[in-house]
């Protein structure tokens, strides 16, 4: 099969996702379509960020490359999924670190955001340990950059990030092979949902933005959405 020559070395794949994501450009139209399709107002921040980082007009082939990368990533099994989740948790954890360092919140809200940050850090440790024990190599921590301006803007961004995290876990549930890994992913998934809901109350946005059934997001959609936050 000639297509096989295009496949990446599965071992090197997980680390490659983030690197290629930073290098490759995102197809702006496709991205806007995907983001628009979620109909969540909170995604506005992502749209702006993505447009800002899109340097040139992209072609269909770069989109295809991005999609192939993500798909072949999931093709390497649970380790690739765990590494993908680990990347997202690293980003969330760094986000909260920066938010806390900026001292924009105090009192009850400040304490809550600190809690959320340490929970994301627990997710990082659990995922990292699981990848290693399954015989894989945990991806390295990506360098994150987040716009941290004021309390309102940060709370909105947190709401967006947590909703994305929840939809990312939901998008992988059916791809996970091991029941043990699935049980762990589910126990993290609902915590991300709790974070998203809490932040919804904070920014006066819907706690259930998609109604009765949460909407999953696939790997390429999520990676495109987080691309602006990779330094």
């Amino acid at each position: 099969m000639s297509q096989d020559t295009e496949q990446q070395d599965p071992v090197a794949q997980p680390a490659g996702i983030v690197e290629r994501l930073v290098r490759d450009d995102v197809d702006r139209k496709r991205f806007l379509k995907v983001v628009g399709g979620t109909s969540a107002a909170g995604f506005g921040a992502f749209v702006l960020a993505a447009c800002g980082s899109s340097k040139s007009t992209t072609t269909a082939s770069t989109t295809a490359t991005t999609a192939t990368t993500a798909q072949s990533g999931s093709g390497t099994g649970d380790v690739a999924i765990l590494n993908y989740a680990l990347t997202l948790e690293y980003l969330e954890s760094q986000f909260y670190e920066k938010v806390i360092a900026a001292r924009l919140f105090n009192g009850k809200v400040g304490a809550m955001l600190k809690d959320f940050g340490s929970q994301e850090n627990e997710h990082v440790l659990a995922l990292k340990g699981t990848v290693a024990k399954l015989g894989g190599t945990p991806v390295s921590k990506p360098r994150a950059k987040f716009p941290i301006e004021n309390a309102d803007q940060v709370a909105q961004l947190a709401y967006t990030v947590e909703n994305l995290g929840a939809s990312a876990y939901l998008g992988q549930a059916a791809n996970i092979q091991s029941p043990e890994v699935l049980a762990a992913a589910l126990s993290i998934h609902s915590v991300e949902a709790r974070h998203a809901s809490t932040l919804g109350t904070l920014v006066k946005k819907p706690v259930t933005p998609n109604g009765a059934f949460a909407v999953p997001a696939d790997m390429s959609t999520v990676l495109a959405a987080v691309k602006p936050f990779l330094a």
Binding site: G77, L125, A173, A214
Partner: protein
């Protein structure tokens, strides 16, 4: 092209002190992150996997009973108690969503060739907004644990996606209600606790009259 074959399928059945090797490895992994209390996930995972129970239709029927309960609680009891403000708004919104879960699960059970359970009758020990919200918190958090516990036992990946889409909404409800009653929106910390069928019945059973 997703490779469905595990890297070492022969290891999966290998038991270490009553645990399969893969479960053992995961426990080890989680224990390794013992700083920050990550080790606590190990028992949770073992507990989720201890949830056995018939086929998919049976699992969905169990979920359907819980959704009937939640839906009746918000839509019937909520009106009886007389709620106001945010509590009233949540009861209306969440009640409607629980009804949608009822409809979805009923449809899925029929599709599987199963018979959906009939709507039970319930008795809710809530007399005012305060006791209503306290019970809402218990019900929503129990719902999250029930779905998380049953999820890995579902054979159909399609149904797992449906259950996942529902549990995420239950978790969102739980957090919103908990915040309203001044409780932590993450009562289990970084990892939600999966519940066995037995534990769910212990919490919800007394509310089911027939």
């Amino acid at each position: 092209m997703i490779d469905k074959t595990p890297a070492h399928p022969e290891l999966a059945a290998f038991e270490v002190h009553g645990m399969t090797r893969s479960s053992f490895m995961l426990r080890g992994a989680l224990a390794a992150g013992a700083v920050y209390g990550t080790a606590a996930v190990g028992p949770f995972v073992a507990q989720a996997l201890a949830t056995t129970g018939g086929g998919d239709a049976e699992i969905l029927n169990f979920a359907l009973t819980l959704e009937y309960l939640e839906s009746a609680f918000y839509e019937v009891k909520g009106k009886q108690v007389g709620l106001s403000g945010q509590a009233k708004a949540y009861a209306q919104e969440f009640g409607m969503q629980e009804s949608q879960h009822v409809a979805a699960l009923t449809g899925a059970i029929k599709e599987l060739g199963g018979t959906p359970v009939k709507k039970p009758t319930f008795v809710f020990p809530a007399t005012n907004e305060k006791s209503f919200l306290a019970l809402a918190s218990v019900l929503e958090n129990t719902g999250v644990g029930a779905y998380n516990g049953a999820g890995p036992s579902l054979k159909s990946k399609k149904l797992l996606e449906v259950a996942g889409a529902i549990v995420q909404v239950e978790a969102r409800h739980a957090a919103a209600i908990d915040l309203l009653v001044d409780k932590s929106p993450t009562p289990n910390g970084g990892f939600d606790l999966p519940l066995t069928k037995k534990q769910v019945l212990a919490a919800a059973g007394p509310l089911i009259k027939s």
